[in-house]
């Protein structure tokens, strides 16, 4: 596991105020995020999403419980070495250009000068920031700021990425590019936690989500595959687990045993492709069954969970 939270509790105390004024933002949350997994953090305002992100980023201390990133305590230098963080409202020094800002953060990461330049060139191209890389940040639109903030978060090729409302202010092209980039990062093994109110966007990115409500996890780990039309049950003679690990992306694989794989299918045309790739990978298929499902989308789930508690 890349991230593990155990019995995480956070109480905000006001200075010189009595205990009655305490605000309990999180009430004993336990969760984990695996390598190559995108987890969407959803919930109404004041649910504790930002507090959870801040705790994972090591920005605040838990009142009880602990958070570990790659086996290290969240605030430790070792944990921060593999962390990329993008806040909801990115702020930069207005006089610095995007290039100077990236160089500054590269230096904070302890990267050598040449590695910083190479990384800046790569991210500038990837996030299409060429046009304004030399302009001062004070002139930036919200979308430009978001791209720069994302570039900062990716400067160290993080193993764990924390994103707070990443698509804020991005134009449709920017949103599509962001989605593609995050999918690539996921496939490369980066664990990603995204807090967002844009449920439609989130749905296209992730199949796993955590629903927070008043500091508690209401629902965790329920699979909602993006655009899923059904489940493909494939029966194999043996070694199903090993074959699945080798051939299928984790987001597609809903469950597996020694002789059966359950795969999320988004389109009818996907079925022959999946079957042929399994056969090419050495699988001895004994049976295939496509189960069409009427699965609720993330917005339906959000509303259902919210209404259940109100």
């Amino acid at each position: 596991m890349v991230v593990e939270c155990e019995q995480l509790k956070k109480v905000y105390r006001k200075l010189l105020a009595g205990r009655s004024k305490d605000v309990c933002a999180l009430q004993g949350i336990s969760l984990s995020v695996a390598k190559g997994q995108i987890v969407g953090l959803i919930g109404p305002n004041g649910a504790g999403k930002s507090t959870l992100l801040n705790l994972m980023g090591g920005l605040i201390f838990p009142t009880e419980g602990n958070v570990s990133i790659c086996g290290h305590p969240a605030r430790s230098i070792e944990a921060r070495r593999g962390l990329g963080y993008m806040p909801e409202h990115p702020a930069f020094l207005g006089r610095y250009s995007a290039w100077a800002t990236l160089r500054y953060h590269g230096a904070l990461l302890g990267l050598p000068r040449q590695a910083i330049s190479a990384q800046i060139d790569k991210l500038t191209e990837q996030l299409q920031m060429d046009e304004y890389i030399d302009r001062p940040c004070s002139d930036f639109s919200q979308g430009m700021k978001q791209r720069l903030a994302l570039a900062i978060a990716l400067m160290n090729d993080p193993r764990f990425l924390l994103l707070d409302e990443p698509s804020n202010g991005l134009d449709p092209i920017g949103i599509i590019q962001l989605r593609d980039l995050l999918k690539k990062l996921r496939d490369a093994g980066t664990a990603i936690v995204i807090s967002s109110h844009r449920l439609g966007e989130l749905e296209k990115l992730t199949s796993d989500y955590i629903f927070l409500y008043r500091g508690e996890v209401v629902s965790f780990g329920e699979k909602i595959a993006a655009g899923q039309i059904g489940r493909l049950r494939v029966e194999l003679a043996s070694n199903a687990n090993q074959i699945a690990k080798k051939l299928l992306p984790p987001s597609k694989l809903l469950s597996s045993s020694e002789t059966e794989l359950v795969i999320a299918v988004g389109d009818d045309n996907e079925v022959p492709d999946i079957v042929s790739s399994l056969v090419k990978g050495g699988a001895r298929i004994t049976g295939v069954l496509l189960q069409r499902e009427d699965i609720e989308d993330i917005e339906d789930v959000f509303l259902r969970l919210y209404n259940e508690r109100n």
Partner: protein, 253 residues
């Protein structure tokens, strides 16, 4: 690379920093060329403006701005000891001040050379004592900036200083032998940045008591400089401690 970027940031973070430096040069030049004062007055003005007001102005919001904008949240997730952030920013201020006082010395010498105005005796010693005082005040102000948002560290420190100075003056004037007055005096002398010690050192007052170099007491001068450094380290230690224990929330104000 990290040290360089953090030190450079203290100078280039705002256009306001350039304005402060230029305004301070103008103020020194103005008082230097005015004929209405005595030599000692100008040096005192230089000492107060350069050693006390300059660090407050340059360190205004040095952490507070980052905390209130939420910028600190991204910086604090980078893999390095947060104490480094404090130390390099303070060193950046100190380096800026050193360059500032060297430029001040050159400017005053040039003005004196071409116009004959002003006094340049002991200028080097005064500028050095300004830098020492600057470091101590900068450490206090920077540490305060870790706990207060925006540039309130400047206002808060100025208000506390004025209050304590007024209280000290009133008590000293009314009841100089009172125990309370002595406590406040001792506090001002040993805990606060050492205005009196440094002034007396540069004026050569301690030369009466021990071995002298020029007009300065060597032992007392070393003691004064050490005392100032110890205070700077002491206040910096608090800043580092506060910063490494501080929690950061990313809600922007």
């Amino acid at each position: 690379m990290r040290a360089y970027e953090l030190m450079k940031e203290t100078f280039s973070r705002k256009i306001y920093i350039y304005i402060v430096h230029l305004s301070w040069f103008a103020i020194y030049g103005l008082f230097f060329t005015l004929r209405v004062h005595e030599e000692k007055d100008f040096h005192q003005i230089l000492f107060i403006w350069g050693g006390f007001f300059l660090p407050l102005a340059l360190s205004a919001g040095i952490f507070g701005d980052d905390i209130s904008s939420g910028r600190i949240c991204v910086v604090a997730t980078k893999p390095f000891w947060l104490g480094e952030l404090y130390i390099y920013r303070l060193l950046g201020l100190s380096l800026q001040a050193a360059v500032h006082f060297v430029i001040t010395g050159f400017l005053l010498l040039i003005i004196h050379r071409f116009t004959g105005l002003g006094y340049i005796d002991d200028l080097g010693a005064w500028l050095f004592s300004c830098w020492l005082l600057f470091n101590t005040w900068a450490a206090i102000s920077t540490s305060l900036s870790v706990v207060v948002k925006r540039a309130y560290n400047f206002i808060f420190l100025l208000a506390v200083f004025l209050f304590l100075a007024s209280l000290n003056s009133i008590l000293s004037w009314n009841n100089p032998d009172d125990a309370m007055t002595k406590v406040i005096n001792a506090f001002g002398k040993y805990v606060c940045p050492p205005f009196t010690l440094l002034t007396k050192m540069v004026e050569g007052e301690y030369s009466k008591y021990s071995l002298i170099v020029g007009k300065y007491s060597s032992i007392k001068a070393v003691a004064c400089v050490t005392h100032t450094f110890v205070l700077t380290v002491f206040y910096s230690f608090f800043g580092v401690l506060l910063l490494s224990r501080r929690q950061f929330t990313c809600s922007r104000e």
